[in-house]
């Protein structure tokens, strides 16, 4: 019997694929966003409204992660941007090799921002780097204001937390200040935005953040 020292991270293959995605998009000056949240918190709707606001001046493309249907990619294509669906067939997260495969198959025209919508799940996607510049956690007000401390891994790693469906605040028990306090403990550098895709509240701030990050990425490359 032979014993060999492997000494490598279990997710080394994922990390290598993520590094390739990151390197490609560094060269291209494209901003890559990984959206993570529970199902039904409004990821696809946020993206639709983002396209409505930014699509006129920036070229956007989307990768949609889901278990069983093409519905989300169809919704994004209906906004006029190229979109590719990854069907995981039951797996609870996207990994970087799936993203690479989707990019190769989709052969998107040149784009300024790549929007990756992860499988709806607050836990498993947290462990997988997709080569993104920015992890964004969404939390809809209907889910309750205790979620950052209940799911600390994602809320401590996401550089931006977006509270969604703020138009429902009068109808639900949800203390924005409590969420802000939890996120500040978990993630002192993290940003928190309060948005409603329906009313438009906070959408200017969200889109402005994406534009600022894109400009910063390109300035760093120059």
């Amino acid at each position: 019997m032979t014993e060999i020292d492997v000494r490598q991270r279990i997710l080394a293959a994922n990390e290598a694929a993520a590094a390739e995605v990151r390197s490609r998009y560094r060269d291209e000056g494209t901003l890559v966003i990984n959206l993570i949240s529970s199902p039904g918190s409004g990821k696809t709707t946020l993206l639709e409204k983002t396209v409505a606001r930014l699509g006129g001046r920036l070229r956007l493309a989307a990768i949609e992660g889901d278990i069983a249907t093409e519905r989300d990619a169809d919704r994004l294509r209906a906004t006029g941007i190229p979109a590719r669906q990854i069907l995981t067939g039951g797996a609870c997260h996207l990994d970087a090799r799936q993203v690479q495969g989707a990019l190769a198959e989709a052969a998107f025209p040149a784009h300024d921002i790549l929007l990756i919508e992860n499988v709806g799940n607050l836990i498993c996607p947290t462990s997988y780097d997709l080569g993104e510049d920015l992890k964004v956690a969404l939390l809809s007000v209907a889910e309750g204001d205790d979620k950052p401390f209940k799911y600390p891994a994602i809320f401590s790693r996401a550089q931006v937390t977006v509270i969604t469906k703020a138009d429902l605040l009068p109808h639900v028990t949800f203390d924005v200040a409590a969420v802000r306090q939890q996120v500040s403990v978990l993630n002192p550098q993290g940003r928190l935005l309060v948005t409603s895709a329906r009313s438009g509240e906070g959408m200017g701030e969200w889109c402005g953040l994406l534009e600022d990050l894109l400009a910063a990425k390109r300035a760093a490359r120059a």
Binding site: T2, E3, V6, L11, A12, I123, C124, T126, P152, P188
Partner: protein, 124 residues
């Protein structure tokens, strides 16, 4: 719930390592799994058995080296355990944020294998 994907990644990396050393049948794989890595060791063990079942490495054992959380409280100046009943990185004494020093490992350590040559026949 993502233990299955992790088990598949472990097998893939170990097979690749063994092929680099001439190929063979896996006997034992040891991995370091941190308490804060979001993996359940029992589920990982179960997933491992499912992943190797029916293949040439079906008898391969998975040895899990469990690494407890090690978190330093900068305010108290000492290492603190995980607060009972909580996974938050907050000091159980002063409630300040803890700095992670260890316990988030997710590493393959060693692989033991029997080369096909030694078994007197090549399958690869």
């Amino acid at each position: 719930m993502h233990e299955m994907g992790i088990a598949m990644s472990i097998l893939e990396s170990c097979r690749a390592a063994v092929v680099q050393h001439g190929g063979g049948r896996l006997e034992e794989v040891s991995v370091a799994v941190g308490e804060l890595s979001a993996l359940e060791p029992d589920l990982l063990q179960f997933a491992w058995e499912a992943v190797v079942a029916g293949g040439p490495d079906a008898a391969c054992r998975l040895a899990i080296d469990w690494r407890p959380a090690r978190q330093l409280c900068p305010a108290c100046g000492e290492e603190k355990p995980r607060a009972p009943g909580s996974w938050l990185r907050l000091c159980p004494d002063c409630a300040g944020p803890l700095r992670l020093e260890g316990g988030d490992e997710l590493d393959i350590l060693h692989v033991s294998f029997v080369s096909y040559d030694a078994e007197g026949g090549g399958e690869e």
